[in-house]
């Protein structure tokens, strides 16, 4: 059963696939964290049309990393988070430089089924899908194609560490991040241009 509008978009996808109109312009805006080591390692990887997959288990404070990408000249952004019993604590986001006027949130466990219009539309330039409870391989394929059509950046956050043994051909970068008890953040690239490991002190993000 097709959702309204899907047929048209499939046609549009095929038209673009045939015409090869999928290229991202070289001047497409790359978003950066403002932390030199991180920006160097991400290179120009976080730019419109890209899908970045993050392995960020709850409680390891790893979400600071995708949030860092949103604090400078934040484009209109939507953060879709699963219902894990938690709600957004907005002042903490603002304190890390997020402009609350330009970021919106939706609580949803099954984003592609329930929020399809968001992916079919280019209103939001950055879409973060945080720990979806239902997310199939077909869904990943759909969002990666839509990201290219609409020139959006999509962050797919998993509530577990990503394994190099199970790949994701649609993601341009796959990265795990967590904080240890000594306050050191470990950023571990599984897939990307410069796959390597980076250690950062939490004092770079927090008053510790």
């Amino acid at each position: 059963m097709d959702a309204p509008g899907e047929k048209l978009n499939r046609q549009e996808i095929w038209r673009r696939l045939k015409s090869g109109d999928f290229s991202i312009k070289p001047d497409a805006k790359v978003i950066r964290t403002g932390i030199a080591e991180l920006d160097e390692i991400f290179s120009d990887g976080v730019k419109p049309g890209r899908l970045i997959e993050w392995g960020l288990p709850q409680g390891r404070n790893g979400r600071i990393l995708p949030i860092l990408f949103l604090r400078k000249e934040i484009p209109l952004t939507i953060w879709i988070y699963a219902d894990l019993g938690l709600d957004i604590y907005a002042p903490a986001w603002a304190s890390h430089g997020i402009d609350l006027r330009r970021i919106f949130f939706v609580k949803c466990n099954d984003p592609v089924k329930k929020l399809k219009p968001i992916f079919l539309d280019n209103t939001f330039k950055v879409i973060i899908i945080d720990s979806p409870k239902k997310f199939s391989k077909g869904d990943i394929s759909f969002i990666s194609v839509q990201a290219r059509i609409n020139k959006q950046i999509i962050f797919l956050i998993r509530n577990y560490f990503l394994s190099p043994r199970i790949g994701n051909p649609f993601a341009h970068i796959r990265v795990n991040c967590s904080r240890n008890d000594r306050g050191i953040y470990s950023v571990n690239f599984i897939k990307g241009k410069n796959p390597k490991r980076l250690l950062l002190s939490s004092s770079r993000f927090f008053n510790e």
């Binding site: 059963m1 959702a3 709850q58 894990l84 709600d87 604590y89 002042p91 209103t123």
Partner: protein
């Protein structure tokens, strides 16, 4: 003469404590026959008596809040202009957070022969409301009783209602009480016990949002839900006689969305072609009444969080309305599948006919249209449009100055965020630097985590002067790493009880 540089004198009539849109209004106007103008502020209207109307603004709160910001006006100034354009002069309108409060205040103002717009959240009007006499409280009870009788509300007996009123009047005389607020300290349960459940509930309506303890614990998320529980208040919707509707008798039973979709597009086009309504009108609800193959009739509501123009949506092949219809259809299919597993029917019971009817519509006359600026930035219009297309609420937040961690922000209507950045909030924002991005709205009690060597973060204090227990004054926040290696945000209250308040995600 250029007025730009002239300082504006504070108008006590509209000097508000806050600028949030009210939930309800009472409107007095002498008119021979109610027309569409009565729906100028909201599609939800009730006729209280011959000349008094009640407005439920909840479907349009976001709409008016956005219009106010676009025009850079005081909200009530804008509402007054809309009412002037739709009803002319000579009306009286009161806005508040419960229809009963609006009715009490409008009764008082009518006796004073006042005219114009009176918000109940201004300091002046709050003081006047708190000083209302018993006469103003008892007077609307007559009509309330008529409405409850008309609705045949279960458990309501007019004779008993009157006798309990008489009992309350005797009590007031004996105690020499001047007005309802002299009894504001009485709790609802004791009023219910002594003077019946009905008078107890009406009693609670009178003070809703006015008492100190209610002010202390605002519902952060109320504004996003845009609803207030009316309890047993007898709301009788006023409808225009002939709303735009399209009937469809299917030539053969259908149950597939790809067959239903083009037929719905035809029906929506039919609705738009009707002369009984115009392009300016904004739809907030459409009823899709379906007759199933077994002749069972079911009503599905396609509701739109932001009133929108179906006529304009026709240029987009009715995508927004179709999304809402699709979600309603999917919900119905799931319900029917779960219910009718034992019937010898196709997997989903097919439809044989349906009716599509515009059930709630905000009327925007050409005069009102001039007051509403529709040329907003494309981004926020896009978000409002998306909000109408999805079944879930899009959340937006603002930081507010408050020492208590969980009261230092609130939900905010989408589309209102285009204002200037408020630099005065910087110190409050800085205070949240070591707090987590996700938190538990209701903190969870936990056993003492002292053995896990919690790291002290900060001490917060609440408005101690509003509470009774001074032990609740402070909270000490800590960062704890639990046995699974997760970082948790916990606090210890004044009495030494520990709570988990968030997770460093």
């Amino acid at each position: 003469m250029n007025n730009a540089g002239i300082a504006k004198v504070i108008d006590l009539k509209t000097f508000s404590m806050d600028e949030t849109c009210p939930y309800f209004g009472a409107f007095y106007c002498e008119m021979e026959k109610a027309g569409k103008d009565i729906f100028s502020l909201t599609p939800r209207v009730m006729q209280w008596d011959e000349n008094i109307w009640l407005f439920d603004l909840s479907p349009c709160r976001n709409f008016w809040a956005i219009q106010k910001e676009k025009k850079g006006k005081n909200l009530y100034e804008l509402l007054e202009q809309i009412l002037d354009a739709s009803s002319g002069k000579g009306y009286l309108s009161v806005f508040g957070n419960h229809p009963w409060q609006c009715l009490l205040f409008i009764d008082f103002l009518l006796k004073k022969r006042s005219r114009g717009v009176f918000p109940l959240n201004t300091l002046l009007n709050r003081r006047i409301y708190e000083g209302l006499s018993w006469d103003h409280w008892f007077e609307p009870l007559e009509i309330l009783s008529d409405h409850l009788n008309h609705l045949k509300v279960k458990g309501f007996k007019e004779s008993q209602f009157r006798s309990k009123q008489a009992q309350l009047k005797r009590f007031i005389r004996r105690m020499d009480l001047l007005g309802p607020f002299d009894l504001s300290q009485a709790d609802v349960a004791s009023i219910e016990r002594r003077f019946s459940g009905w008078l107890g509930e009406i009693w609670a309506w009178t003070f809703h949002g006015f008492l100190e303890d209610e002010k202390k614990t605002p519902d952060l998320f109320n504004s996003s839900e845009n609803q207030i529980d009316l309890g047993s208040f007898p709301w009788i919707p006023f409808r225009i006689e002939d709303p735009p509707r399209a009937m469809r008798h299917l030539e053969y039973p259908v149950n597939r969305w790809d067959v239903i979709e083009p037929l719905l597009v035809e029906d929506f086009s039919k609705l738009c072609a009707m002369k009984s309504w115009s392009e300016q009108e904004r739809v907030s609800s459409i009823v899709w009444a379906i007759t199933l193959y077994n002749l069972e009739e079911l009503k599905l509501e396609l509701s739109f969080r932001n009133p929108y123009s179906l006529h304009l949506d026709s240029r987009n092949n009715f995508k927004t309305a179709l999304y809402q219809a699709y979600y309603a259809y999917m919900g119905l299919a799931d319900r029917l599948k779960a219910r009718d597993t034992d019937l010898d029917l196709p997997e989903e019971i097919p439809f044989v006919s349906w009716k599509v009817e515009i059930s709630e519509c905000l009327y925007i006359s050409p005069q009102t249209m001039e007051l509403i600026n529709d040329n907003s930035g494309p981004n926020y219009e896009g978000i409002l449009d998306l909000q109408n297309k999805i079944p879930l609420h899009i959340e937006s937040y603002v930081v507010v100055p408050d020492f208590t961690a969980d009261l230092s922000f609130r939900s905010h209507e989408v589309g209102r965020n285009d204002s200037e950045y408020d630099f005065s909030l910087n110190q409050w924002i800085e205070a949240s630097f070591n707090r987590p991005f996700f938190y538990y709205r209701n903190p969870l009690p936990i056993t003492s985590p002292l053995e896990l060597k919690p790291k002290f973060l900060e001490r917060t204090s609440n408005d101690w002067w509003t509470g009774e227990n001074l032990m609740d004054m402070t909270k000490d926040y800590f960062l704890v790493e639990d046995r699974e290696g997760r970082f948790i945000w916990v606090f210890r209250d004044g009495s030494g009880v520990w709570y988990k308040h968030g997770i460093y995600s």
